[in-house]
């Protein structure tokens, strides 16, 4: 054994990397960059094409009458009238469902954050919500329908709103949950140190979550407006304007569906016009949600 102790600081290798390797790595980077751009382009193209198709096929049938009149007698044979019944119905269904889901989701999520915190119970609630999120909305539709039968109710705005609120609930609750999860820990410490009870803490959390809350509401509304399967049996369909919570209402997705099924090209064109109306509504909502996140955050501490 020699007494020599190896040099504690290893000498850095000063040999330059082989130019060949560098070349290959540059090429690799270019290939992957190109691939990523291709994927991006693909996604953008898909959205662009959908918009283009419904625009070109639908814009011809779009008119003031289409937007402001309910269908007349021979509407599905190519006669006069419009889809105002479905527009109004969809707005009522989606806003009703969002409001109902909010009244349910907000206390639930605030409870999770102010009381249950990281308990096992909270983990279970989150898991349940995730499962609910994954259930296809036709299942909610079927559930709502069987419940209606049980209670002896007709297809109606009320039944549609309640069923749709089940679809929207997990979306709203989990989005809110994520928003509150981003609240800094110091918010809790500050509130409690000032002598807040847990209920008062919930109020403080809600304040902190306000911009995110608005976004969550819009997302839920957007989802509700576009959902067809849950309202198919529960809200029914009618050619009349909405007439109270106990009578059936029309909805845009179903309007698209029924018109697209008609054998007449003129009616099919109107289906595309209806789809255009629906898409524009959802686009506007999504954009507002996106922009509001920045606007409403003025009091929020980051």
């Amino acid at each position: 054994m020699s007494e020599h102790i190896s040099d504690p600081i290893p000498q850095a290798s000063v040999r330059p990397a082989k130019p060949l390797y560098l070349e290959r790595r540059r090429l690799e980077e270019r290939v992957f960059l190109a691939l990523m751009r291709l994927c991006l382009l693909g996604a953008a193209a898909a959205l662009g094409m959908i918009l283009a198709v419904i625009f070109w096929r639908g814009v011809g049938a779009l008119s003031v009458e289409m937007l402001t009149q309910p269908p007349r007698g021979n509407f599905y044979l190519g006669g006069g009238g419009g889809i105002a019944n479905a527009i109004a119905g969809s707005i009522l269904l989606a806003s009703g469902a969002t409001a109902a889901a909010f009244c349910w989701a907000a206390p639930l999520v605030l409870y999770l954050h102010a009381y249950a915190r990281r308990s096992r119970f909270a983990a279970w609630v989150r898991l349940t919500l995730d499962v609910l999120w994954g259930i296809p909305s036709i299942v909610y539709g079927a559930f709502g329908f069987s419940l209606m039968i049980l209670l002896g109710l007709r297809a109606s705005l009320l039944a549609g709103v309640l069923t749709l609120s089940l679809v929207v609930l997990p979306i709203l609750a989990r989005t809110l949950d994520e928003v509150l999860r981003m609240a800094p820990h110091q918010l809790l410490e500050t509130g409690f140190a000032l002598g807040a009870t847990r209920a008062e803490m919930a109020g403080l959390l809600l304040r902190q979550a306000l911009p995110g809350l608005f976004t969550a509401l819009l997302l839920a509304f957007g989802r509700g407006v576009g959902d067809a399967a849950s309202v198919l049996f529960t809200a029914g369909y009618t050619d009349n304007m909405p007439g109270g919570i106990f009578s059936p209402v029309a909805s845009l997705p179903l309007a698209v569906f029924f018109q697209l099924n008609a054998p007449f090209p003129a009616v099919q064109e109107r289906a595309y016009a209806s789809a255009l109306v629906l898409t524009v509504m959802i686009l506007v909502i999504s954009l507002t949600a996106h922009l509001s996140l920045r606007r409403l955050g003025k009091h929020v501490v980051r």
């Binding site: 915190r117 990281r118 308990s119 800094p184 820990h185 110091q186 918010l187 809790l188 410490e189 500050t190 509130g191 409690f192 140190a193 000032l194 002598g195 807040a196 009870t197 008062e200 403080l204 304040r207 902190q208 306000l210 003025k298 009091h299 929020v300 501490v301």
Partner: protein, 249 residues
């Protein structure tokens, strides 16, 4: 007279013990400083005084913390009541997500004070921390718009507005620029005699300037506690001497 007495306090984060057999009493209406290297448990000790430690589910606490002779960890004690008797000024200024006025008013509203009283106290406290002239024109503006030093003074006003008996400060000047830090320091010095102040600090010189009583901690244990003159003049433990000479820590 002591306003806060700690008896045989042990704290664990999960399996890791953060505080070991802490025994100390903090003199009333004086400034006490807790010093020690990073990770020695200063913040943990401070947060055990207003039961904020419990927000962390894996924390286990044993021992007693007496506030005016009554154990705040005894069963049946109202946590909210305890916390409203003890104020906290954090390391980073943290304005609540509301306006400047509402920030100071928040604790008062929780106590159910009436409007006129709240307006009076808010103004008085903002004056006391030297912020009134700077913000009186924009009381309704979001508090996040203030500078770091202003925010910390706002937080002090907010804490004092609820009239706590004890003020806990966890490195409350550490995140501020030197001038703002000096401002907060002077405010704390002016509060001596009115509040029992317990401050955590990394800054030995700050402890020298402010403290009447000093507690030195090392790896979760309390190494030395003494009145400031004694502590800085003739430290007994070797660890303390080494720390004060900046040979360790």
């Amino acid at each position: 007279m002591y306003s806060l007495t700690v008896q045989n306090l042990n704290v664990w984060y999960g399996k890791q013990q953060a505080l070991k057999n802490i025994d100390v009493a903090f003199p009333e209406r004086r400034i006490s400083a807790i010093i020690g290297p990073s990770g020695c448990g200063k913040s943990t000790l401070l947060k055990s005084f207003n039961r904020l430690l419990e927000l962390n589910e894996q924390v286990r606490i044993e021992g007693r913390v007496l506030l005016d002779g009554e154990d705040i960890y005894a069963p049946g004690v109202d946590v909210v009541a305890v916390r409203s008797r003890i104020g906290l000024l954090a390391q980073k200024p943290f304005p609540l997500p509301m306006s400047i006025f509402d920030n100071v008013a928040y604790g008062l509203r929780l106590q159910g004070r009436n409007k006129r009283e709240i307006a009076e106290v808010v103004e008085a406290q903002l004056r006391a921390v030297g912020l009134w002239e700077e913000v009186k024109e924009r009381l309704k503006a979001p508090a996040t718009g203030l500078s770091g030093g202003q925010q910390q003074r706002l937080c002090l006003a907010r804490t004092l507005a609820v009239r706590p008996e004890i003020l806990l400060c966890d490195e409350s000047t550490a995140s501020l620029d030197p001038l703002s830090a000096r401002g907060i320091e002077e405010l704390l010095a002016a509060l001596r005699g009115h509040y029992t102040i317990i401050m955590v600090t990394h800054d030995i010189d700050q402890a020298r300037r402010l403290a009447d009583y000093v507690v030195f901690m090392w790896l979760g244990e309390l190494v030395e506690k003494a009145p400031a003159a004694e502590f800085f003049g003739a430290p007994r433990a070797e660890l303390t001497q080494a720390y004060l000479a900046r040979r360790i820590g």
